[in-house]
């Protein structure tokens, strides 16, 4: 292993031909690209399949619909099948109805005559087609704009509050010496150890006692004091030289001004990273909003899409389609900010 790592690591000199490590690198990168994007693309393709096609085995790569044809003498379009004749040739026929294992068919070119075909000898004629109803129906029926607004509100407010409270706390923890500082830091880091999903009941009691149930603030507030944010910002602020602060104090700047005019701008890369993470986290939050929000005018997108999960039946075609819809903003963030996200984290790098 170490040898492989070392070889991959070694920088190739200029002007030489392809070394095997270059090939390994490109295999890793291209394989990685397929592995990272492929699964999401499969989800998108599946979201355009109708409910019956989703249950199909073996599955098809692309969404299909059965072709139909109008046949003279029939009001509704009839489904088309490729049938195998007795002599082994195949012919496209339209099915009138199926009775048991027998299918009554008709030749679209010769509507007068009925043909009986065993269902084992027919297979549907299909073409690529999108079940757009998966998207249209939930968007029309649900108050989608309202859900979107709630999600945006939660995401933006939570992110703003996170940035301000966390940066202030990080400033205090990195630039002041006071008694109990290490204790506070330890306390904050220690809460990293307990995930939300295991303290649901006590947290619910607290939110309930504060009257925040069925309120977007009940979703926002418990998430904003994230230990990760304080930790990340503090580590970054430690790298800001104290001399800068001292110089400002000489110029009679107040502590608040030092925080606001000097430390915050200098911490911008770390703030940006936290902002992006906060947006992604809050946008994707699922379990907690589901517990706090039970009135539909307060639903966020993630809660709204889950109403298609019943007791005995889950309407997957809607859930998949709405999952894709909720992914779109995240992908937009990704497309527009990808350079920024990746270099930002590298820049903010935990020192």
């Amino acid at each position: 292993m170490s040898r492989i790592l070392a070889f991959i690591f070694r920088r190739r000199g200029h002007g030489r031909g392809w070394h095997w490590t270059d090939i390994a690198t490109w295999i890793w990168l291209i394989g990685g690209t397929i592995l990272m994007f492929g699964p999401a693309l499969w989800l998108v393709a599946s979201s355009f399949k109708g409910p019956a096609q989703l249950a199909e085995f073996p599955p098809t790569l692309l969404p299909y619909v059965q072709q139909t044809a109008m046949v003279e003498g029939y009001d509704a379009p009839l489904p088309l099948y490729t049938t195998t004749q007795e002599d082994g040739s195949t012919k496209v026929l339209a099915e009138i109805r199926r009775i048991g294992v027998n299918s009554q068919m008709v030749d679209p070119g010769n509507p007068g005559e009925r043909i009986n075909v065993n269902i084992a000898d027919r297979s549907p004629v299909r073409e690529i087609g999108l079940a757009t109803g998966n998207y249209v129906e939930p968007l029309v029926k649900n108050n989608f704009l309202r859900f979107l607004w709630n999600s945006v509100f939660v995401t933006v407010m939570a992110t703003l509050i996170t940035l301000f409270t966390n940066s202030m706390a990080a400033f205090a923890l990195s630039k002041y010496r006071f008694r109990g500082r290490d204790g506070v830091m330890l306390l904050i880091v220690a809460t990293l150890m307990v995930p939300l999903s295991v303290i649901l009941v006590p947290l619910y009691s607290v939110v309930n006692a504060m009257g925040l149930l069925n309120s977007l603030w009940g979703v926002i507030l418990p998430t904003v004091a994230t230990p990760t944010g304080v930790f990340l910002l503090r580590q970054y602020m430690l790298t800001i030289p104290d001399e800068l602060l001292e110089a400002a104090r000489m110029d009679h700047a107040s502590e608040w001004q030092i925080y606001w005019r000097i430390v915050l701008p200098l911490a911008a890369p770390a703030l940006a990273v936290l902002a992006i993470f906060s947006v992604v986290w809050r946008w994707n939050d699922f379990l907690w909003p589901l517990i706090v929000l039970s009135q539909r005018e307060h639903y966020t997108l993630q809660v709204g899409l889950n109403t298609y999960a019943g007791e005995l039946n889950v309407q997957w075609h809607y859930i998949l389609a709405m999952t894709v819809v909720t992914m779109i903003p995240v992908i937009l963030v990704f497309l527009f900010l990808q350079r920024f996200i990746t270099t930002g984290i590298a820049g903010a790098g935990i020192k």
């Binding site: 170490s2 070889f7 991959i8 690591f9 690198t25 890793w28 990168l29 592995l35 990272m36 994007f37 699964p39 599946s46 989703l54 199909e56 085995f57 599955p59 098809t60 301000f164 409270t165 706390a169 205090a172 002041y176 809460t191 150890m193 999903s197 295991v198 303290i199 649901l200 009941v201 006590p202 947290l203 009691s205 507030l221 418990p222 004091a225 107040s254 502590e255 608040w256 915050l264 701008p265 911008a268 703030l271 940006a272 902002a275 994707n284 699922f286 998949l320 909720t326 992914m327 995240v330 990704f334 990808q338 350079r339 920024f340 270099t343 984290i345 820049g347 790098g349 935990i350 020192k351």
Partner: protein, 336 residues
């Protein structure tokens, strides 16, 4: 880079600049009165207030819950029973066979989680390190590839679980590929080994981008002349890796290890959606056990769940402190 950060920061800040100006005079008065030490309290207050109410109080309540019994949901409906829940979790007739334990599923979850953490953290670190090393090379389209590996980090755990379930289930993509290659389709998630491997692979898939970037940041901070010197001495690459790269990556490596370990022990959403803990109980991990006992099952037992979560938290604290101690000692040795 910093330019974009500043512009964004300033644009987002403009409505708040006014507020910031307005709070300055009263804070100056406060500062004069308490000194700069008092200002630390001001800066800490908002975060600590929210933190106290929504994190600390629930944590303390959680501890109280762990010492109560009954099926009541709210504390005032629950009688105090002392340490009984802990006793129930830890009680076994024969400590070598976990099915003789009173809460055999808890022990199953502990065993499974241990296995998961060992394999997942190892895989995570190895894969992120390889990817970081590759991305640190001088390759075309580096920015693009850096983003590619980061993409899954943006997805919610529920979506990650859903995506992979849609690939691994019987009607999934993997079987489509298998059938086209002329292989027998397989019910992947019905096999203990595949299901366990899937939970490890999928959680690594979802989070490796994050760790890759932290490691990449560390790699880029290593001074180039060190490598140039090594090249001049014709040092073997393996030696360069062990003697220069790894030691200088140290602090970032420690962060990755600590975070990966904590998140790995807490694994939940992706796996819950992906395997539901099956087949049998072979991918039942601790957080799922706690969630089901305390919240999701019809006959919930919040006290037992709280006790289990406290045991889990305690183990995590010990592991983290141990790791930090070890990495600090390693750093100290290097400094000398």
């Amino acid at each position: 880079m910093a330019g974009l950060g500043e512009t964004l920061g300033r644009a987002a800040a403009w409505p708040f600049t006014l507020v910031a100006r307005a709070v300055d005079p009263p804070l100056r008065v406060w500062q004069r009165w308490t000194g700069t030490g008092g200002m630390a309290a001001v800066f800490l207050a908002p975060n600590l207030a929210i933190f106290g109410v929504f994190v600390l109080i629930p944590l303390v309540l959680n501890f109280v819950y762990s010492m109560t019994g009954g099926t009541g949901i709210l504390l005032d409906q629950r009688p105090f029973i002392g340490m009984e829940q802990y006793g129930r979790l830890l009680e076994c007739e024969d400590y070598t066979r976990r099915i003789t334990c009173r809460e055999d599923q808890f022990w199953t979850a502990v065993t499974n989680t241990t296995g998961f953490v060992i394999f997942q953290v190892t895989l995570m670190v190895v894969v992120s390190l390889i990817t970081a090393l590759i991305l640190n090379r001088n390759i075309r389209g580096r920015g693009f590839f850096r983003a590619v590996f980061f993409f899954p980090v943006l997805l919610s755990p529920v979506v990650v679980g859903l995506i992979w379930r849609w690939i691994l289930q019987r009607e999934g993509l993997l079987n489509l590929i298998a059938v086209n290659l002329g292989l027998e389709p397989e019910i992947w998630l019905n096999d203990r080994f595949y299901a366990f491997a899937a939970t490890i692979g999928v959680s690594t898939w979802a989070h490796m981008g994050f760790y890759t970037l932290i490691l990449l940041a560390g790699l880029q901070a290593i001074p180039r002349d060190l490598y140039e010197a090594a090249e001049m001495d014709a040092t073997p690459p393996a030696r360069v890796f062990w003697r220069i790269t790894l030691p200088l990556l140290g602090p970032n490596f420690a962060v990755v290890l600590v975070l990966a370990l904590i998140r790995s022990v807490q694994i939940f959403d992706e796996v819950y959606v992906l395997t539901g803990g099956g087949p049998g109980t072979s991918t039942l991990y601790l957080t799922q056990y706690i969630y089901e006992v305390g919240f999701a099952s019809i006959l919930r037992n919040p006290g037992l769940a709280a006790a289990a979560s406290i045991l889990m938290g305690a183990v995590l604290v010990v592991l983290t402190l141990l790791q930090l101690r070890l990495s600090r000692r390693a750093e100290g040795r290097r400094a000398r």
